[in-house]
Amino acid sequence: MAGSTSLNRFYILLLVIAAGGGGVLYWQARRGVPSIPANVVVTAADTAGFQGYFLGDPNAPLVITEYADYQCPSCQDFDLVQFPEVMRQLVETGRVRWRYRDYPLDHLHSFARLAAHSAACADDQGRYWQQHALIYQGQAQWSAESEASGTFRDYAARAGLDLPAYDACMQSAKYAGRIQASYDEGLRVGVNGTPTFLIGDRLYGGRSNSDALKRIVDSLAPMATPTP
């Protein structure tokens, strides 16, 4: 009798643990907070046909590659203050093709990779640059949050994305490999901070501004002067 009582108590304990553990798993699944893993194995499919996010004329004489981190204040400063001028003077005039590559500094910026993935999921729906702009504009806000994925989702809604498709993309970490490939490329070319610009075969780091970039472009690809 005593044995059967202790066995019944044991069954109750098992039930409590199973229900508690199952509840935690269910809650975690419902919470559905996406995270984008680092150091994933990059497969050929991750990089096939994808070289970065481009702006400007594909036939422009020069390509500038920007390696940047969405959570880096200097990158935000460049994107909000300098980049509109770069667009006006260099990209829209057909002198430069702009190429953006993710270089998330995970050890400094806990949401950089998540932000990069959010933008990648927007690219799935043809709205990369809208999401890109919203993420940089809101950097001060989401950087201070304990969990930024909700804010990125709000941006996705503002950018006009189909949210169920966006959610599925984020949950599956679909572009983790692509972001890792981008980071690996930065490492290979010698990037050691953000933003860094690859122009021709040289890297330019630090607080580059539009004037400095224009001077470099002028020296590498002088504007055609009208012949008399």
């Binding site: 044995g3 066995l7 098992l14 798993l25 975690q28 559905g32 893993p37 994933v40 984020m170 599956s172």
Partner: protein, 141 residues
Amino acid sequence: MKQRMGIALLSLAGMLISAYLWMFKHGYIGTLACGTGGCETVQLSPYSRFMGVDVALLGFAAYAVLFGLAMLGLQPSWAGRREPTRAALLLAGGGVLFAGYLTWLELFVIHAICRWCVASAVIILLVLVLTLLDHRRLTRA
């Protein structure tokens, strides 16, 4: 009997951990609670599958069988029988070897430590110890 209770409890914990890791791998859970950050690296490495099957799923299946064996062994009519213990001994022994192999991969190949995987390795080791104690109890009886 206490050994079998312990095996059942530990196996249940192992099932929950395996389910947690499997749910993460398949995108049902966004973030793993893992202070080292190595869990995601390990779970998304090619070594998180063994012969085409998710390691987490293999773990869940093994713990589920161990749990079933322990529960069977707790039934009064099975209390003195050795079969559940022998089967558990075989499974837990294999589990410890496999956990050792996975830990070696984490340390020397993947170079990342997943705390949940370590917890699972400790659990299967404890299950083996309890199974050995149960086996000794039955042998002496």
